[in-house]
Subunit: 257 residues, 2 copies
């Protein structure tokens, strides 16, 4: 056996068969022989040339430069010096890049995300770990949860304070409407519902009117949510649900499935 097939050569030199095909295509390394069936057969001379190619490729010289270089029309040292220069340039660029990234990271961290302690300080134990855990398990796979997690991850303590203020503003709007005796289909109740939707939409996840209906139903169906509202004012949970549905109707949103 004085010649080798592509597969053997590929294994010998640690390149892929496709690479050898490529070198053949562009004329960088054309095997000296072909079998009647068209199989490439590489001779010893071919392997010597491939060895050169592999060496220069490790130096990341472009293939066309390797070609002119191996055909003896140009000086290897020239190419190597040029390559060294371009690599050095790229090195400088990358060093600058790293420090730029570091600056960006620092900026990113400067509006530091709030810590769990910050959150407990603001929201009390309603934000307890086991509750978070359970919520994670129930909705962790949903797009809404993922988006919400990604966004809140970066919220600072100041952001959370705003969120809390907004929540309270929404709740008190509901309470005012409820206690003034206006029905859940009234303008005031629907406005509060819309305010509620926008609050979640802006702060947590994309929320359209249809999805909003689903939330509303859950406030009544899940006793934990129900309790939150009932603790503020008796009858508020159902009132909120009805107001949200009325608001969704007003915006022509499809009924929850």
């Amino acid at each position: 056996m004085t010649t080798w097939t592509v597969g053997q050569v590929a294994d010998l030199f640690g390149v892929t068969v496709r690479t050898l095909h490529h070198y053949d295509e562009i004329g960088l390394l054309v095997p000296s022989e072909r079998s009647r069936a068209g199989y490439r057969h590489y001779t010893d001379e071919d392997l010597v040339r491939l060895q050169q190619v592999v060496v220069y490729r490790r130096l990341e010289l472009p293939l066309d430069e390797i070609a002119t270089l191996l055909d003896g029309f140009e000086d290897a040292a020239d190419h190597l010096r040029r390559q060294r220069a371009t690599v050095m340039t790229r090195l400088d660029e990358l060093r600058e890049l790293v420090s730029a990234i570091d600056r960006a990271l620092e900026r990113e961290m400067n509006d530091r995300p709030a810590t769990p302690d910050d959150l407990k300080e603001l929201f009390g134990d309603g934000f307890s770990d086991e509750y978070q855990q359970e919520a994670q398990e129930r909705w962790g796979e949903s797009d809404a949860w993922k988006q919400s997690a990604a966004r809140t991850k970066r919220y600072t303590k100041a952001d959370w304070a705003e969120v809390k203020a907004e929540t309270e503003a929404v709740n008190s709007a509901f309470v005012r409407a409820l206690q003034s005796g206006e029905p859940a289909t009234s303008e005031a109740a629907m406005d509060a519902a819309e305010q509620h939707r926008r609050h979640i939409h802006d702060r947590f996840y994309d929320l359209d009117h249809t999805f909003h209906r689903g939330l509303a139903d859950m406030y009544v169906a899940d006793p934990r949510f129900t309790k939150t509202y009932e603790d503020i004012a008796p009858g508020l949970a159902a009132y909120v649900r009805d107001a949200i549905h009325a608001n969704a109707d007003r915006h022509g949103a499809a009924t929850d499935r």
Copy 2:
């Protein structure tokens, strides 16, 4: 004017129009408005987004990562840390590359090319600077000259010593044939001519029999070459020319144009 056209935006942000088209194509930055004629109109919001894109692009983040990042579903710091890691990896690779190139250069220089002094020592003043200069001007543009220059540039002193020995062997073969009274068309003379051709072919540039004829004619036409041969033996220049033509005929080479 509350919106901007591609050209204006491109100038403002130092990107090309094509880049904006590309961002539109891949959905990274789709202008909020289009004129009836299909012109892109960028709003203030669009520009804010573009600003973000430009910043992250300077950090060489891939465009699809920038997209997911700007759509608020993932954390910027995560991406930045990943990017920092890959850049650091690449930095290490490039540093290793530089030293590999340096090692290659050193190897390259170790078979040090001969200096002009080395050459004068071997060939005397026949290799003088002004002669080299003139030759450069006469043939510098030809492929043969370029190839020869590229190859001899790397010749070591030892290589040149071999070249000199070969030259003398060729010349003495011609002289032996001439002085033994054999005609230029004799086997011995033609063999010397072939030896002469191969010597130039192997050491300087690709030389076929047809081109060889041209060289032969010049040895007689150019007094400087003629003198070189006549100094060795009277009548040698014309003898060499005839032997080369006879050898070319023997190999069925086309007559020089």
